[in-house]
Symmetry: C2
Subunit: 396 residues, 2 copies
Amino acid sequence: MKINKNFLKLGENYLFLIISEKVKRFKEKFPKKDIISLGIGDVTLPVCEAAVSAGLKAIEEMASAETFKGYGPNNGYLFLREKICKSYSERGVNISVDEVFISDGSKSDIGNISDIFSNENVCLIPDPTYPVYVDSNIMAGREITYCNAEERNEFLPTPIPEYEKSDLIYICSPNNPTGAAYSHEQLKSWVDFALSRNSVILFDSAYEAFVSNDVPHSIFEIEGARKCAIEFRSFSKTAGFTGMRCAYTIISKELEYDDVKINELWSRRQSTKFNGVPYVIQRAAEATLSAEGKTQIKKNIDYYRKNAEIIMQKLRHAKVKFFGGINSPYIWMKCPESMKSWKFFDFILEDAGVIGIPGSGFGKNGENFFRLACFGNHERTEEAIERLCRSILKKL
Amino acid sequence: MKINKNFLKLGENYLFLIISEKVKRFKEKFPKKDIISLGIGDVTLPVCEAAVSAGLKAIEEMASAETFKGYGPNNGYLFLREKICKSYSERGVNISVDEVFISDGSKSDIGNISDIFSNENVCLIPDPTYPVYVDSNIMAGREITYCNAEERNEFLPTPIPEYEKSDLIYICSPNNPTGAAYSHEQLKSWVDFALSRNSVILFDSAYEAFVSNDVPHSIFEIEGARKCAIEFRSFSKTAGFTGMRCAYTIISKELEYDDVKINELWSRRQSTKFNGVPYVIQRAAEATLSAEGKTQIKKNIDYYRKNAEIIMQKLRHAKVKFFGGINSPYIWMKCPESMKSWKFFDFILEDAGVIGIPGSGFGKNGENFFRLACFGNHERTEEAIERLCRSILKKL
C-alpha cells in the first residue's frame, strides 16, 4: 500500500499553533495581564431565535414515527433550496433549485470540488490566501501559480497576461484575510478572462453578508459567470452557524467543460461520497431566510459591523493604514514602521495585551500586515483597539 | 480546464431509478393494489428519547451567548470520542480518543479516505458490494479487482493467492447486501493476509449493532488489526440516525505505511476539507451511548430483528434458501427456480405487491438473489413476506 505522497509536500499548519504557544508563554509570565483577542475568525453571538425555534421543532419531529425523517436528498431538502433561490432572485440573480447543493460547510465543498477536476489543471491562487485553496490542491498534486494581492493593487489583483496558466481560478470576495472586495468591473475582468481561456472560477462568497456598499454579493451578478464560475456560500458567518454546519454551492447547468455538465459531475460526486446535511440543521438554516430570521441575522451582522467601525475609526485617528472593514469582518492593517508581521504580533501582545493574526501566515504578500477580526463584543473590542493604538503611538 | 475523466467511466446509478420507474408504472396500471416495500435500507423508528432530549438541550445552548458553540474540533468533541472509546473497551478493545474521528457519515469517510492513498494502489472489493467502494475508486482512477462472494463460500470469501493485487481491501461485515458476517477465524485470515502483503483493510462496520451471535463487532477484536485496518462505524443504523448524520472512523496510531502515520494523514485531510459535525448532533449521538440511550436503541434494534425473524421463519417454511438475517437487517434470498433477480422483482411486484432489491444490482454475483430489508413494521412485514411466499409456492 502506497500513501498519497503529495501529503508530504504540505507545509505544516503552524500558524495558530505558534500563536497559542506564544500566548500561553506570555500568560505564564504575566498571569495578571488582561488579554483580548481580535484574532479569532469565529462568531460569538448566539444563533438567532427563528433558527433555534425551527431547530427545536425539527428535533421534536424526529421523535415521532409520523414525522421522523431518515435519509434526505443528497443535495438538500427542496424547502431550503427554494429559499436560497428566492434570496438570490431578490438580488436579481436567477438560480434554479437543481443548481443548489446543500452541504455541511464551504470548507468541505471548496476542498472536495477538487475531485471532479483533472489533476493536470493549473491553479491560480491569490497570495495572501485562505490556506484551504492551496492545501487541497497540493494534496491533488496540482501545479499552483500565485497572483499577487498587494498594497499597490489594494489587495485586489485583476487578470494580467502573466497568469497564462490558470485553469482553476480561486477568488474570495469579500476576502479572507484582507477584507478587500472586488467591484463589479473588476469581477467582470475575471469572468471575461476565464471565459476567454476556458478556465473555471471558484468563487468563495462566505463573507457576502458583510457587503455594505455596491460591490457584488455574488459572481452571478456578472454577465457570463454562469458559463465559467462556481459559487460557494455558507450560513457560518451570515447566520452565526459555525457550530451548526450548513453551506451551499451553486453550479449552473450551463457550466460545461469537455462537453460535460459540471452540475452533473458534482451531483455524482456528492451522491457517492456524501449523504446530506441533518434535517434539523436544514430546518434551522431555512428559518434564517424567513422574514423574521433575516431581520435577526442582520441585527447580528450589524453588531459585528459596529466593531469594524470602532476599529477603523481608532486606526484612522492613530494614522494607521488599513484595508477591509467596509465589506468584511476583517481589518487588514499595515504594521507601523514596516515592522514584520510576527514582530508586530509579539510587540502588541506584550505591550497592549492584544492578539491578532500575523499576515505573513496567509502568504508572503501578507508580510508587514496584521489581521484584526470583528467578532468580539463592543466594549472589549474598543478597549483592545485603544490599547493597540496607544502602543503604536508610543512606539512611533 | 479539464475535468476528471475517470468520472466518465462510472456506471450509471440506475438501480433505484429503475425500481421506482417500475413501481410507478405498476401503480398506474393497478391503482388499488396494496404495495409493501421490503426494499428500503433506511430506518423508520423515531430517534430515541435520550437523543431527542440531548438534542433539544444542545439547541437551547446555541441560543445563549454563555453556552453558544462556534467551530468545534475538526475531529469531534472529546465528550463523544470518550464515550465511543468506552463502548469499545466494554467489548475488550482499547482505542484512544485521538484514534477516533467523528464525521457526518460513513459514506463520506469511506469515499473521502481515498484522498490519502496513492492512486497507484489496486483495490480488492467483494462482488456483490455496496457501490460506494467501487465508485469512489473509479473516480480516483484505481485498478479494481473483485473477490467473489458466492453461495459456495456463503458470501464470505477468504484470502486466496489469486488476490495477489490487493493494496486496499474492502470488507463489510455484517455485509450489505448479503447479510453475511465473518467469524473471528475468517477475519483473522484477512488480517494475516493484509499484514503479510502490507495492505490496508477498510472495514465497514455500519451494521455491527445487528450482530447477535459470536462473530466480531469490530476488526480490532482481531490480533494485528491495529497495524493493518481502518474501521468505519455509524450511528445511522445503530441509533436510527440516518437523518441526523453522525459516524466515526477509527485509525490506530500504529497504522503506518511508507513510515507515515495514517492517523496523521487523515487528520490533515479532515482539517483541510472538513469542519466537524454540528454540536447539536454530537450531543444527540453522545446520548445514545448513555445507559438510558443504549437501552432505548437496543429496543429499536430488537424491533427490526423481530422483522428479520418473521421473514426468516416464513422463508424456511416455504423452503426458500437465504443468507443473512441473523446478524444483519438484510435477508439475502435465493430466487426460486434460478430465476434472474430482475425477473423475480417483476414477478413478486405483480403477483404479491411486494418490493425488494434485485441482487444483480450489487454486482454479477448478486444475480439470482434478492435483498429484503427489516426496517418496516411487524404487521406489514409479516403481510409482505406471507404474500411473497404464497406467490413462490404458487409458482413452484
